[in-house]
Symmetry: D2
Subunit: 332 residues, 4 copies
């Protein structure tokens, strides 16, 4: 049985998901909605889909699922509407920048018994997945410490920063989710330090561009996260997990493995310069997983609760800086 999908939002990430839907056997992109008519039309026609508005999709009987790629401040409302409309929902992170609003939204989802999957695509990357598989296989014994290095090639434009919710909710949130994914235990305490080192404009907007965070679980496992909005050598995405029997490390995926050696030494090209090329396959795999969850009736993972927990950690991190103390997640 083919899953008929509507896409809400025909922007950058919407295009990625549109392509992914059609690449999945058993799914079909039926409709695209976007307030920007041209964008909707272009994307719909590229994939043989129709342009419809959100209201029409909401009541459509031929649509089984929606993929929400609209601006963040519309996510919670759309999730609630489509939960009530009985559609399965895949939503880009975050549900909302406010923990309170997320909690309210998830209550609606739960009340409706709706299917909601969150877009933490890194969980579907072959590298990070292989690390978790190694952990699950017992190769490194009991997990003890996780290190995550996550650096963007360059800062986003100021306008983006202004509405992003800050580095922790926008960028580190993926690392918070990855920390939970790799630690296998909930975060109890958060310590953070952050500063503005790449562009003073980021500071004027009340945000940071460089951050170090320590997460601690109840049993004493740690995760260290290092973030920067600028890495001249490319999109730096690494993690390693130390366990009682060993370590598993995710190195950077390289677009080209060629090395040139001269009198100056041995040189390899920079890393990917964009998260979409780095995670190209992961984006496709998460949509494939979403289709699988909906068709099998199994609860999607990562779900709404995963989004909430990552957001709570983000808020704790921000508070740790302003209050100069270790903040417990149960304070949020």
């Amino acid at each position: 049985m083919t899953l008929n999908v509507a896409l809400l939002g025909a922007g950058r990430i919407g295009k990625v998901h549109a392509r992914a839907v059609n690449a999945v056997a058993g799914a079909r992109l039926l409709a695209v909605a976007d307030p920007l008519g041209e964008a909707a039309t272009a994307l719909a026609s590229a994939y043989g889909a129709e342009v419809r508005d959100v209201a029409a999709i909401e009541v459509a009987t031929d649509i089984d699922a929606v993929i929400v790629c609209t601006p963040t401040d519309t996510h919670a409302d759309l999730i609630e509407r489509f939960a009530r409309a009985g559609k399965a929902i895949f939503c880009e992170k975050p549900v909302d920048l406010s923990v309170e609003r997320v909690r309210a939204c998830l209550k609606v989802v739960e009340g409706e018994g709706a299917t909601l999957m969150l877009g933490f695509q890194r969980r579907f990357d072959a590298q990070f997945r292989a690390a978790r598989d190694a952990i699950a296989a017992g190769t490194i014994g009991t997990v003890e410490m996780v290190q995550i290095v996550s650096r963007d090639p360059g800062p986003p434009p100021p306008a983006y920063i202004a509405s992003s919710g800050g580095i922790f909710r926008d960028m580190t949130i993926h690392d918070f989710d990855m920390a939970r994914f790799l630690l296998g235990e909930e975060i109890e305490a958060v310590q953070a330090s952050a500063s503005v080192l790449t562009d003073p404009e980021i500071g004027r907007l009340g945000d940071y561009d460089s951050a170090s965070i320590i997460l601690t679980t109840a049993s004493g496992r740690h995760c260290s996260i290092s973030n920067s909005r600028r890495a001249t050598y490319g999109y730096d995405q690494r993690a390693e997990v130390l366990g009682s029997k060993g370590m598993v490390a995710v190195a950077n995926e390289r677009p080209v493995s060629v090395v040139t050696a001269t009198g100056d030494g041995f040189c390899a090209p920079p890393l990917h310069d964009f998260f979409m090329t780095r995670y190209e396959k992961a984006y496709a795999a998460e949509i494939e997983a979403f289709v699988g969850f909906v068709q099998s009736g199994r609860a999607p993972s990562p779900g709404g609760d995963d989004g909430l927990r990552a957001l709570v950690i983000a808020e704790a991190a921000a508070r740790s800086i302003t209050e100069g103390r270790t903040v417990r997640t149960n304070e949020i």
Copy 2:
């Protein structure tokens, strides 16, 4: 203007090319021919194409180009037929196992002014291409010596060996082409040593499974090739080029970059176990290039002459072993 393509042969590599054709903007798979009706039907229906027989494709006015993926012994005949029929031709290597037959076939192609591209997909791999780009950019100065290591995960079935034309025409031929691609100069002399080390059955069939070859050009550049039909750690595909100013090296592409460290040491997973997964993108890129050559009217590269030259080297290698001497390509 869309290029309408017919596929001859719906086997393993035919499927790869069918998918590639449809992924190229500006190309469309219109027809599939295969003596095995079921295979043709399955592949045609998967891509919205029709099943037609070779004769029908030959006279079809709606077909611009053919992709030949039939058994080797049919290649030369099909190339001649479709050259005469005015279709552009992409043909899997080799044109034929006989140098004489290839020469005759290429004369027909030339006489008809037909477009013929040969399937040396490795030239379209991002890694090997990056190496040649580095050479072209002058990074390593004048090319002096090339090393190619090319090892299969395991030997093909005896039936395949029996009709393969032998290791040099079947397997090393890709390395001979890569040698020419990287050396930038024609091969003048060939020395080879080969033996049967993995399976005596291969020897009973008159073939080898392990070979070392030295190619020398007129200006004294060398290429060393090392082949084995068995590498337990996966499909091993490397090359390096030494020049007057430095070296460029193509390392193996790894499916997963995860490393696990325990008391036993640091371990990474094996390489790809199949040439089709290793060269997945290269196969798509060569078809995209073929479509581009046909649409632009430029001569395809690699063309029929590249196929011939690689085959001549293969024959010289075989002769070097039986005669225990350095064999010049102009003897063939």
Copy 3:
């Protein structure tokens, strides 16, 4: 002019320094003191030196310098005695486990105008030094963030733990010094999280075996440190520095670079299993540097103040855990 050196303490590290002294052109081991007479005799005879007691060395006119390798609780007293005796002093870290005692001791050193060098050997390792040279050369621009991973192959015996001053004063202190060495700016604030994950006995002794620390400087540079007393794959010593123009990374030095590939994958042997083999050359280089400082009259680096600053950070880290807050170094 040859520098005549006496060694105080003929234990494990004393032997390393004895060998180093004699390998330096222009230095000569003249005397060895150790309450354990046999140890002193064995070491002295191996290098053609005499056995003397501390008091004799103190008044000896033929001794220019002492190397202090005695137990930690004797360091401060010995430094003061030999400072007053006019000898140049190389002392293994730490000067003392008490910040107050160290401050008092350094006042004596300063008052006497004595030469005191501290044994942070990692500063003399070719790898870490190359990283700092790259920073000094401007290769990575302005330093922003440092990551240090420092893990022992296995925990020391309980008796050692009991008198070690705790993981921060004993183990992390090297990382605190390295942080200062690489950051190029003093530490202002310290956040730490620590736990007992490898052996409950360590917890019973009031210590930790696993720690994550964030150091922040006045200008907002960060350093993350990850410590564990157990890494099954060997002595793990890495660092990387992110700057405005790039990154420099110190990978683990491997005793053997051989890789074995089989159907199980690609495997390299574990790391060094002991700090003395890993830092063998660094120990020799620091003694060579000490001899150079004394002979040239230049102030030694790292000096007593470097020892003090690292200890202050250690104390701030310990306090950060007990008080659950960010601790400023100027509180100590």
Copy 4:
């Protein structure tokens, strides 16, 4: 019982061996001989040895062993003299450039029952040794194919080339020995190709600077060797061995493991620029092994026969080029 050693030849490699002798427990450098008096005096005084002439050493009752580091054309004579004088002999390779002369010399050695060890230091390098240990442990199964890449940073001065015996006897000879060391079977057939690519002066002197060689054993194992007198990126010394169960690879040993990443990519420093720094430890280890062989009475390895066999392969390689054919070692 201490082994008393005399050194013949106080040049570059003589200094290396002098230091090595004194670093070995149980050996002592007693005398140094060199026609260049100053060199002998300098080296002798640096290690507390005496200057003596060759004749005096020959009859000295206090000398147990000699290390021969004189020019190549004196080796065979000196070996014969000291074999007759009852001294154990360590001689730098080669015994002589003439196979006939070597055979005569080894007969004398055999007749006298003398102890003769040849200076193929690469056998004592930790990396190459680890490769052979892995083979011996059965990790890669039965050995099938060996690849050796051996490239100098730059060509030696013309005067050296002129008296070197040619690239095969001077440079590749180490690779021929390594091929035997790793293949575990004698070489039966040799094919070679060589040219002058780096400096025409080398050609005028009748030598080559770039060579590719294939060695084949009776059971069909192969070894490919790639030589160049110029590698801008440093002294390139690699080997890999393919076996029925896997591969073991010796990568280049790097003086520094630091990597710098910028917008231009990831860069590591060049390799060692000199064979003496690359093989520093191997030189010490071979002298230690020599002392051990003499003291234990076991036959030294590599011995005179190893030197002869490598020379025979070198001669076969040279003949393969001039005669354009595969040359069997039993022809030499």
